[in-house]
């Protein structure tokens, strides 16, 4: 059994590395960048699902946490020489810092997690709608701070010329880390406790689950991954400004989580991939095109409208999202095969005695 697990894990990893190598060799710059964005969105969607789907904390603050990570990471890796030019008023200790990428990634995640503790402490006492609006309020506050703390952020101008450290390998490693951590966590007793908190926090409390601590923990961990995604994003696009971390970004991540299924990790992965690639394709249409002799005028905003309409339809006809709380993966494929052969583990045990 153990050998089989090792073999499977090793095999998956080897296949992934091969695919990545192939992608790096064959894809052009645009497609590589798109692939990186897909990976970053996978991190964002799965980590938001931890709070919104598995723990029942409907947060709209994910873009805010991402912004914290992006700005923190940028300030740490930004070349000292350019700092003196672009951000002359930085405090001394920060002006002379030029970190490599890995510590900056970790620091960005840690700072976002810290922000989540600070926000979650008071705000997580709220429930449902109130919690959603309060977290959205946090997102607006982060945006206002990023716009007004010129000394650190250059305000609305934003920071450009961020070193382009983000490569396919960094993104892939971060995606893998996110999926492994979240997958194991949600498969463990902690994951079951989080679901219990979501389904009925009174019962969970009565069962001895420290509800408040688990809720704060989930928000913190989710925010940490969002922070890492923010650092990756900043070093991929190489420009950040407060406007980028807006309501629209939060909305896009929420759509991925909801469409994939709140409470399904693999659903978030699938939705993140689809909902990154489809709008990108639609964006071509936005520039205007000539189809069969008909001139279509530029339709800016079309991709957003299609996305939003799809979301409304999913909510009406499939309110639990595409996958609901189900998962797809090795184990589940095998489970399917067993189902087909009428050889369910439970029944097997029953037959045996």
């Amino acid at each position: 059994m153990r050998a089989a697990v090792l073999l499977r894990t090793g095999g998956t990893a080897a296949a992934a590395v091969l695919l990545l190598l192939l992608a790096e060799r064959t894809l052009n710059e645009y497609h590589l960048r798109l692939l990186n964005v897909v990976g970053i969105n996978v991190i964002l969607a799965t980590s938001l699902n931890l709070t919104n789907g598995f723990t029942g904390i409907f947060s709209l603050g994910h873009a805010g946490f991402m912004a914290v990570g992006a700005y923190a990471g940028t300030l740490l890796t930004f070349p000292v020489a350019r700092k003196a030019m672009l951000l002359p008023d930085l405090p001394r200790w920060l002006a002379q810092v030029e970190w490599p990428f890995l510590p900056a990634l970790l620091a960005g995640g840690a700072l976002a997690a810290l922000a989540a503790v600070a926000v979650g402490w008071p705000v997580l006492r709220l429930r449902g709608h109130y919690l959603a609006v309060a977290t959205l309020g946090f997102m607006v506050i982060v945006q206002v701070l990023a716009t007004n703390l010129d000394r650190y952020t250059r305000g609305a101008l934003g920071i450009n010329g961020i070193p382009p450290y983000t490569t396919l390998w960094w993104v892939a490693a971060c995606v893998a880390a996110t999926l492994v951590v979240l997958g194991h966590l949600l498969d463990s007793g902690v994951g079951r406790a989080l679901r219990a908190v979501r389904d009925d926090d009174l019962v969970a409390q009565a069962l001895g689950i420290p509800v408040a601590r688990y809720r704060l923990g989930a928000l913190t961990l989710g925010a940490g991954f969002a922070g890492v995604a923010g650092v990756l994003w900043a070093h991929l696009i190489t420009v950040i400004s407060p406007g980028a971390f807006s309501f629209l970004l939060t909305f896009q991540i929420v759509v991925m989580v909801v469409v994939g299924g709140m409470g399904s990790l693999s659903g978030s992965v699938v939705a993140a991939v689809l909902l990154t690639l489809v709008p990108e394709g639609l964006r071509r249409l936005e520039q205007g095109a000539v189809v069969a002799g008909l001139t279509i005028p530029p339709l800016f905003g079309l991709s957003q409208i299609v996305l939003a309409c799809a979301l409304v339809l999913v909510m009406i006809y499939r309110p639990a999202g595409l996958l609901g709380q189900a998962e797809v993966g090795w184990r589940h494929l095998r489970h399917l095969r067993d189902l087909r052969q009428r050889r369910l583990p439970a029944r097997e045990a029953e037959e045996r005695g």
Binding site: H129, A132, V133, F138, A308
Partner: protein
């Protein structure tokens, strides 16, 4: 400038900003009352109202009153349609679903405006009768602000009386209290909910007209922040109550103007952060609002 005059000027600004918040907060609050839904698309109804007014004000020989009040009817109709198409099918679903649909609607309205009218901000041109400034005892008031604030107060009074005194108002309150019981008493709750939506949207539309007049320019995303702030106002006064929403709107208007007017200018950029910190504080300390129990 002499201090009294300065304060009087700030007061005037606060009343006109407060009216915008109060008008939009009523809509949010009414809808929350009957559906337990926070309508994130409410702010975008403001934008629709502003665009409608801009278009109508440009029509030659249309009476001024019509240009200012037709958007109210128009946005009300949009509210009615949105309720029927998007919210009614998910009425029995968990509350988070309705929240998500309202987020989607917000994005749809914003982007429809971008697609048809471009994202470029447009100047909100006022007709000559409205463009002037009045000097009342040393305080500057624009004609537009004076007229729209008066109309806003009229609309709010009418709505308050309607909810309190008429049969329709009683039906709205009964539906908010307990939808199933209201249904059993023979109240057509579906129609009441639709009507409530339309009323809320209509007031939001007028708030958008006022907002356009105050800022002098409008864009497809103009409604987002005021919509959120309307929620803050509604929570401040106690969600679900019309007088509460009005009080909350004016309190927020005054708070914001005082924050900008009395604190050092370096802090005025933090105005929105102030509003949302206030929101989080109220939610934690007095979630039932300042009017609770009255």
């Amino acid at each position: 400038m002499d201090l009294a005059l300065y304060l009087a000027q700030q007061l005037v600004n606060a009343v006109s900003l407060g009216s915008v918040y109060a008008l939009s907060a009523i809509g949010l609050s009414l809808v929350y009352g009957v559906l337990r839904l926070i309508n994130f698309a409410h702010g975008d109804l403001l934008a629709l109202g502003a665009y409608a007014a801009l278009a109508l004000l440009a029509v030659p020989r249309l009476p001024l009153g019509a240009a200012l009040l037709l958007p109210v009817a128009l946005v009300g109709a949009v509210g009615l349609a949105v309720e029927r198409v998007a919210y009614r099918p998910i009425r029995r679903a968990p509350e988070v679903n309705a929240l998500i649909v309202s987020l989607a609607l917000s994005v749809i309205v914003q982007n429809l405006l971008v697609m048809t009218l471009t994202a470029q901000p447009r100047p909100f041109h006022l007709p000559p009768q409205l463009a002037g400034l009045l000097l009342l005892g040393g305080v500057v008031v624009s004609r537009m602000a004076l007229l729209t604030t008066a109309l806003a107060v009229g609309l709010m009074t009418a709505l308050h009386l309607m909810v309190r005194r008429t049969r329709v108002g009683t039906a709205i309150r009964a539906t908010a209290e307990d939808r199933d019981a209201a249904e059993l008493m023979g109240i057509p709750t579906d129609r009441v909910i639709g009507l409530t939506f339309a009323l809320g949207a209509a007031l939001g539309g007028f708030a958008g007209v006022m907002l356009g007049g105050q800022y002098g320019r409008i864009d497809p995303f103009m409604g987002f922040l005021p919509g959120l702030k309307a929620f803050v106002a509604a929570v401040l006064g106690g969600l679900g109550s019309v007088p509460g929403a009005i009080l909350g709107g004016y309190l927020l208007g005054f708070g914001e103007i005082l924050f900008v007017g009395l604190l050092p200018p370096a802090l005025s950029g933090y105005r929105d952060a102030f509003v949302f910190t206030l929101l989080i504080l109220i939610l934690l300390l007095r979630p039932q609002g300042v009017l609770a129990g009255r």
